[in-house]
């Protein structure tokens, strides 16, 4: 039976993963269909669902919303439909996450309340637009935001950051609210037909207004529908304009290029319409969809949606198919699945060290293989969707570091079969995917590349290689941690294991040196190509340089016999600090051309990580008699000049024990 356990486990997890792939059927409104409708935001084509998920995650830190009053989970697509079409209903959804107690009390928001009446329940963390946006609160938020804006980013405290986060969430929500129709219009179909009727034949809105009111007194009583509707359209178009004062409001583009050169926003499109001209197909579709949604007319909504999708299919097949693929990718959530399986594999591999029952190691290997396959599928799927090499931002660097660590871990495991490669690989795979998951909370992870970064050649070479350098330095560091922890706390670190681990660490550090050096210098060459400076002592460059120097230092110290087995292990653990500094630390400095993300919240995490590594190094420095693996035999231990990896030192070695 035990012989088949690895296969059974693997099959079970594979089945679990595959079961999430088919699209769930829609019972009422066709959310699945709406999810696939293509829109443009942040400069890229994406499905409606991605717009919804990335917006909700910035506001609520989650990809869906659990509604306390309705006692159900509201998917992102449904939430965004409410925001776009029915602002009244949307303004009651408690989606804004507010954590800081001072901010909660400043805005006089209600505390936690487990009322029997679902409508009165509060969780003390999530609040609605209606609760937050009162006249008084707007004034206080405005005041606080202005104060924070005047502060240097490195001096902002937790409260300042909470203010900034809430303000940007509110402004995102505000932009979404005016994406599909003016906020308080319930019947947009009627609004549009009134608009069409009030235009002079062959004239645009502005021309009609000028012809009618040039040099005349404009009536204040709203009696003229041209003024009332036209005014709303002009105000909307002003908001949508990119050059205007309010250009921070990034309103998504819903209308595909039918009759225009490029995608457009609704009011901007309306301003260009001439009297007598039919309204664009896509604009009418969004209007009718919204009206059916407001009227809760499921049949009409689904029929409108079907029509619009059919029309998209015939007019914009590639955009629609790209959107369908991205929706599939969102549902597949390969990195989440891989993350889960890595944990199970990690636990199995750890269990193997305590029982040495070989099915545990084999199961772990099989699961790591499965998770790795899913991880790889996700990586490639992302690359195809984006048309880019694997690493384009901090988020994808985390995913790729995990991937590289797994490759190295599996190679080590193939050679040594002692579960060490599995433990280190699956641990790093899991942790980097958790980091990626947290980085994704900032919004779209497939954002467009800024001008200087817009080059697949350098992204594919410099970035990929330098990231592999990070991955291998981490693998060496975590192997060293296994050495120290097993040596100090267990009796499992026997001579054979020690020798094996010394070789692993040495080999991986050689790899790390090669990758980090080549990657760093390729970065220099890229810099020389784009601004004529091979080396500018930019913070990110320096971080990478430190990794190279550190790896070179370990190799030279070993060749010179200045350190032996334990010394190399301790230096390799310090390599974790060095790599984390380069990966995250320098981004927190907020200087240099490279710093693509300011992550103050992450600063503490980094600090704790560094402290933990220092503690491990201290552990590694304990006298051998306190190591359980050595115990009272401490004397027969690491022989002088233990042949760590078969290479004679370059010169007579002085013992520095």
């Amino acid at each position: 039976m035990k012989k088949y356990l690895p296969w059974i486990l693997c099959a079970a997890f594979a089945a679990w993963f595959l079961s999430t792939l088919p699209a769930p059927g829609d019972k009422g409104l066709a959310w699945g269909g709406l999810a696939q409708v293509p829109v443009v935001n942040g400069g890229r084509h994406q499905p409606f669902e991605s717009l919804a998920r990335n917006a909700l995650v910035q506001i609520r830190d989650r990809y869906s919303h659990y509604d306390l009053a309705e006692e159900r989970t509201v998917p992102a697509v449904e939430w965004l439909a409410e925001v776009l079409f029915d602002s009244e209903r949307a303004s009651r959804r408690k989606v804004f996450r507010v954590d800081h107690p001072d901010l909660i009390s400043l805005l006089k928001l209600p505390l936690k309340n487990d009322s029997k009446d679902p409508a009165l329940r509060e969780d003390g963390k999530h609040y609605s637009w209606g609760q937050i946006v009162t006249e008084e609160n707007v004034a206080s938020l405005q005041r606080e935001s202005e104060r924070v804006a005047g502060k240097d980013a490195s001096h902002q405290d937790a409260f300042d950051q909470a203010v900034r986060k809430l303000s940007s969430a509110l402004s995102l929500y505000n932009a979404l609210q005016s994406t599909a129709r003016p906020r308080d219009v319930r019947d947009y179909g009627q609004f549009l037909s009134q608009f069409s009727r009030s235009l002079d034949s062959g004239a645009t809105l502005r021309e009609t207004l000028r012809a009618k009111y040039a040099g005349k007194e404009i009536p204040k009583d709203n009696s003229d529908p041209l003024l009332r509707i036209g005014g709303q359209v002009l105000v909307g178009a002003d908001r949508e304009s990119e050059t205007g004062e309010r250009s921070t409001l990034k309103i998504p583009l819903l209308l595909p290029p039918d009759g225009t050169e490029d995608w457009s926003r609704i009011n901007t499109r309306l301003v260009g319409i001439r009297g007598g001209e039919p309204l664009p197909r896509s604009l009418l579709a969004w209007a009718h969809l919204g009206d059916a949604f407001v009227a809760r007319d499921t049949n009409r909504f689904n029929a409108e949606l079907r029509d619009y999708r059919d029309w998209m299919q015939s007019t914009f097949p590639s955009e629609l198919s790209h959107a369908n693929h991205e929706v599939f990718f969102n549902r597949m959530a390969p990195f989440y699945a891989a993350m889960t399986i890595y944990v199970v594999a990690l636990l199995l591999a750890l269990a193997y060290w305590f029982s040495f029952d070989s099915w545990l190691r084999e199961s772990s290997f099989a699961l790591v293989g499965l998770a790795f396959a899913i991880h790889t599928v996700g990586l490639i799927y992302r690359m195809v969707l984006q048309g880019r090499p694997p690493v384009t931002n901090l988020y994808s660097s985390a995913i790729f570091i995990g991937w590289g660590a797994i490759v190295l871990g599996m190679v080590l495991e193939r050679f040594w079969r002692n579960a060490i490669g599995l433990v280190v690989g699956s641990f790093l795979g899991f942790v980097t995917l958790v980091i990626a998951h947290n980085l994704a909370l900032d919004g779209d992870t497939m954002e467009m590349m800024r001008a200087v970064l817009d080059t697949n050649f350098w992204l594919a070479t410099h970035v990929v290689i330098v990231t592999l350098g990070y991955a291998s330095t981490y693998v060496a560091g975590f192997l060293a941690i296994v050495y120290v922890v097993r040596g100090v706390f267990t009796k499992g670190l026997d001579l054979a294991t020690r020798r094996a681990m010394a070789r692993m660490v040495y080999g991986i550090i050689c790899f790390a040196t090669l990758f980090s050096f080549t990657g760093t210098v390729l970065g220099g060459i890229w810099a020389d190509q784009s601004w004529g400076r091979f080396w500018g002592w930019d913070a990110k460059e320096n971080g990478a340089l430190i990794i190279v120097l550190w790896n070179a230092l370990i190799l030279h110290a070993r060749w010179g016999g200045l350190v032996r087995e334990r010394g190399i292990m301790n230096l390799a653990i310090a390599g974790n600090i060095v790599t984390s500094w380069s990966w995250f630390g320098v981004n927190m400095l907020g200087v240099g051309l490279h710093s693509y993300g300011f992550l103050n919240g992450a600063f503490q995490t980094l600090l704790y990580f560094v402290l933990s590594q220092l503690a491990l190094i201290a552990l590694g420095c304990l006298p051998l008699k306190w190591w359980r693996s050595f115990g009272e035999h401490s004397t027969d231990t690491i022989a002088p000049n233990a042949p760590t990896a078969g290479k004679p030192p370059l010169r007579p070695v002085r013992s520095v024990a």
Partner: protein, 461 residues
């Protein structure tokens, strides 16, 4: 550390090869004796450790000092010290070796190691190759430091330039029409002399220049007709309308110092010809234009009528005051004085034909910046158009032109686009390319040999 039962021997002979016996040192040549302490791997490790520290502290210092200052202090130096920027912790002073010192020592260490103890075998060929690459990188960086020059070329669409400008250093240029010639004669006093103060003579000038004040960074203050105005700073025309106020120097990446100098000219008889306040605010067209745009915006603020002609006129007037030519006439010859960014002339001209600034649809994320430029080089009979854009520089005449920035002058009702090119002269630009290839190739060979041996050994038993 533990105490082993049998103390390990102080010197363990290497596994193979002839062992130098103690006392055989006399047989070694003197140069080896001198070099051998410099060649130790222990020194390598110490130097690498210090390198890590210097790079780390040099990076930290950038937050406060800015990139350029930190670079000069930590990397382009022989010694430095680092202190925290937080109040109350500034008493901590960490002495550090500078980049030059570390680079030199690493180089000496590496060369000494190869000279004294490194014996070439094919198994070590990778090490040799990568060390050669490291030498090339270190030396190349030193050459770059000494020989490379970065400057910028700023021009609006339609304008042409046959020079680039330094973005840090300025010069006091004294221009006059050479008699009987169509050429302009230029005497340029470099910033170093202006900073130093004192008196400057030049054979081609019929007057001496006495530097009374040097402001490394300054701001123009308009002398509104007010009773509170003190006497003007100088007797030059610009001083009727502007005082230049000295402000603190900036080290930030995205800001720049705009100096002003106050000078007095005396003729050869010792008679004063007047006092001039000369500022880069007037002497650099881009700065004067940016001042004009910000005045225009200030005058136009809060105006809802949509009519900005008044603001435009006022800003235009101030601009005219600021850029008025500052001249002095001696012996019937007019000399124009200007403080401007230091210029580097080139034997050809570039004309900016067109700028393209693409953004991703519906965002303000830049997608591409591109300048279309006409190269006109009469001496070579060359006249052709070329595109300079992101990651695609123009290499021409020993110089490299990179697309750096782009902007629009909002002062005009149809904004005029301008482009800034970074101009780099670096004769040693190829060394890192070769150095990188050598190191990467060497490491690949070395670790490849290891890997093959390792796999063979594992397969063998």
């Amino acid at each position: 550390m533990s105490t082993p039962v049998s103390p390990p021997p102080l010197v363990v002979p290497p596994a193979a090869g002839p062992v130098p016996v103690a006392g055989s040192a006399e047989s070694r040549p003197l140069w080896k004796l001198i070099l051998s302490p410099l060649s130790s791997l222990r020194l390598t490790v110490i130097l690498l450790t210090f390198s890590v520290l210097v790079v780390f502290f040099g990076t930290l210092a950038q937050t406060d000092d800015g990139l350029y200052l930190a670079q000069n202090r930590y990397f382009r130096s022989w010694f430095s010290t680092w202190s925290p920027i937080t109040e109350g912790w500034r008493w901590i002073v960490i002495p550090l070796p500078g980049g030059y010192l570390l680079g030199t020592l690493l180089l000496v260490n590496l060369v000494a190691a190869h000279a004294t103890r490194f014996k070439f075998t094919w198994k070590k060929s990778g090490i040799l190759l990568s060390h050669l690459g490291v030498v090339l990188l270190l030396v190349g960086q030193l050459f770059t430091d000494m020989l490379a020059r970065e400057s910028r070329m700023t021009f609006s669409e339609g304008e042409w330039r046959n020079y680039s400008e330094d973005f840090a250093a300025s010069e006091l240029a004294i221009l006059s029409d050479a008699p009987g010639d169509q050429m302009t004669e230029v005497v340029a006093i470099p910033e170093g002399l202006l900073r130093a103060g004192g008196v400057v003579h030049h054979d081609r000038l019929p007057f001496t220049v006495r530097i009374s004040q040097w402001m490394p960074n300054s701001e123009p203050i308009f002398r509104a007709p007010r009773a509170t105005n003190g006497p003007p700073q100088a007797s030059s025309p610009v001083s009727k309308h502007f005082d230049f106020l000295s402000v603190a120097e900036t080290h930030k990446m995205d800001e720049k110092n705009i100096p002003t100098v106050v000078i007095e000219l005396t003729d050869n008889g010792g008679k004063s010809l007047g006092i001039w306040a000369l500022s880069v605010w007037s002497g650099e067209p881009a700065m004067a234009k940016s001042a004009r745009t910000s005045w225009y915006k200030r005058f136009n603020r809060g105006d809802t009528s949509g009519d900005d002609s008044q603001a435009r006129m006022m800003a235009g007037q101030l601009y005219a005051f600021l850029t008025e030519a500052q001249t002095v006439t001696v012996n019937n010859r007019a000399y124009t004085l200007t403080l401007r960014p230091r210029r580097y002339d080139q034997p050809f001209t570039l004309q900016l034909l067109k700028t393209t600034h693409e953004i991703y649809r519906g965002t303000d994320i830049p997608k591409n910046f591109q300048s279309r430029v006409l190269i006109d080089h009469p001496a070579r009979g060359e006249r052709r158009e070329v595109n300079i854009y992101m990651n695609n520089p123009l290499r021409y005449g020993g110089l490299t032109y990179f697309q750096y920035q782009m902007g629009r002058d909002e002062f005009f009702s149809t904004p005029v686009a301008h482009s800034v090119l970074q101009v780099v002269q670096n004769p040693s630009w190829l060394t890192p390319y070769i150095g990188c290839a050598l190191v990467a190739g060497g490491l690949l060979v070395q670790f490849g040999i290891h890997l093959v041996l390792f796999v063979r050994r594992r397969v063998a038993p």
